[in-house]
């Protein structure tokens, strides 16, 4: 009896993560570019379902939502921009994992706000470093611009990547805090029945 119970809640977990990934993908398609940033940097709310999964279950669940979202995105749109997909996954993971870890450690609304702040910082710094050392050189290799200079990379990171991730983190926080306050009793109840 005990075993079937655990099996069943595992299946439910898998399905919930799958559906959160679907919502994430749907939200990814409703993106809008910010007027003052280059077009390839787009804001979308696809990190929100990943945050919910990470808070409801474990930070790993949030990573899985990010992974499925990006896999399905590639399957649907073709791999015209493989580097961008990897970058999206990295950014999402860097944002979601710290927020969830912080929330699981301290609980409560205040820890969520500081978690979101830490997530934004982690995403901004992490993406800055990743862009400089991996993503931009990878783009360079992809379009055959092997000689991309340090000045160009530094410029892109400082003017494009860092402000973008700060703005993205703030926007996600502005959206997620009221959403979480509304959903919290419901999330707690789900946690009790599933987790």
């Amino acid at each position: 009896m005990q075993k079937t119970k655990r099996q069943s809640s595992n299946l439910l977990k898998l399905i919930i993560i799958a559906l959160l990934s679907t919502i994430s993908l749907v939200l990814l398609f409703i993106n809008f570019p910010l007027p003052f940033l280059p077009t390839y940097l787009k804001i979308d709310f696809s990190e929100v379902p990943a945050l919910i999964a990470a808070i409801l279950f474990t930070p790993m669940a949030g990573v899985v939502v990010e992974a499925i979202k990006n896999l399905l995105y590639v399957i649907f749109t073709g791999a015209s921009d493989p580097v961008g997909v990897v970058a999206n996954f990295a950014a999402g993971t860097l944002f979601v994992v710290p927020v969830a870890m912080f929330y699981h450690k301290f609980k409560g609304k205040k820890s969520l706000i500081s978690g979101l702040a830490i997530g934004t910082i982690a995403m901004t710094l992490g993406m800055g470093v990743l862009n400089y050392f991996i993503i931009l050189p990878a783009y360079g290799a992809f379009i055959g611009w092997d000689t991309m200079s340090i000045a160009v990379k530094l410029n892109t990171v400082l003017v494009g990547v860092i402000p973008f991730n700060v703005v993205k983190g703030v926007i996600l926080a502005v959206l997620f805090i009221p959403l979480f306050i509304k959903l919290k009793p419901w999330i707690e109840q789900k946690k009790a029945t599933i987790g």
Binding site: Q7, S8, L11, L12, L14, I15, I16, I17, A18, L19, L20, S21, T22, I23, L25, V26, F29, F45, V48, P49, I52, V64, I68, L71, L72, I75, F76, T77, G78, A79, S80, D81, F142, I143, G144, W145, T147, I171, V174, L175, P178, L179, K182, L183, W186, K190
Partner: protein, 265 residues
């Protein structure tokens, strides 16, 4: 937009390419993407382009349709070309634009890299044009099978991907329905200060999450009731099978690659 998301890029047809095993297609495209970087002469580029265009024609999909799928990347291809005109400084000066000297090496580089880019995108988009997302998911499950040895949850990942795929149209419609319902109550997503516009999404997301959880509970119950107990010993509705045409394609592909290496300089 919602339509393109529901079916992806898939165009149904009964061409040879459509009927190939998705694993064959994924493997060959993966190899092609690697081998494109080996092309280094005009002849080798021409050869690969001829091969890619030949496959595109063999899909029986109308050419304008294929090209329309490439629209988002035309800009990148042109950008790449111009970039090489400016950055590369080999060979003779051909002419000057606004006192910018354009070198012959830059033109050649630009054309070669744009072609490489075009080939990569054309061939990868042929996969999504001729293979349904669910076939690709099945192929991924089958190709990742060796990872089970290191306890990577291949079956669970594939299950989540297919459930997720199944619910894209449903949740897409739901999103549309909820946003219309909220709009009819006077929620404004399009005007006003940015903060208000962002927070206008909250009343859209709450019902979306709640209904997704309800669906998840129903689906879990239904699967349990039908005796679902993980990947072990589970049979499949769609069996993947390597046919003669897959072996034939691999032989052709091998020949194409051999010729590619002969055409290199």
């Amino acid at each position: 937009m919602s339509n393109s998301l529901i079916i992806g890029q898939y165009v149904p047809s009964d061409s040879f390419i459509h009927r190939l095993d998705p694993r064959t297609k994924i493997t060959m495209i993966f190899l092609f993407v690697i081998f494109v970087f080996f092309a280094n002469s005009a002849a080798s580029y021409a050869w690969l382009t001829a091969f890619a265009v030949g496959i595109a024609l063999a899909t029986k999909i109308k050419i304008p349709f294929i090209l329309r799928g490439l629209t988002p990347v035309w800009f990148l291809i042109i950008f790449t070309f111009i970039l090489h005109l400016i950055v590369t400084k080999d060979g003779d000066i051909l002419f000057q634009i606004f006192s910018f000297p354009v070198y012959s090496g830059g033109v050649i580089q630009g054309i070669a890299i744009s072609f490489r880019f075009f080939l990569l995108i054309l061939v990868t988009s042929l996969l999504t044009l001729t293979t349904t997302p669910i076939e690709i998911t099945d192929a991924i499950e089958s190709l990742l099978d060796p990872l089970k040895k290191i306890r990577f949850p291949v079956h669970e990942l594939a299950l989540m991907m297919s459930i997720s795929l199944r619910f894209i149209p449903t949740l897409m419609q739901e999103t549309e329905k909820i946003s219309k319902a909220q709009a009819s109550r006077g929620v404004d997503f399009k005007t006003g200060p940015v903060k208000d516009r962002i927070q206008a999404i909250v009343p859209l997301l709450v019902p979306l999450f709640v209904s997704a959880f309800k669906r998840a509970e129903d689906l879990a119950m239904a699967m349990e009731a039908r005796g679902y107990q993980g990947g072990e010993g589970r049979t499949k509705l769609r069996e993947l099978k390597i046919e003669k045409r897959d072996i034939f394609s691999f032989i052709i592909f091998g020949l194409v690659i051999i010729v590619l290496f002969l055409l290199r300089v």
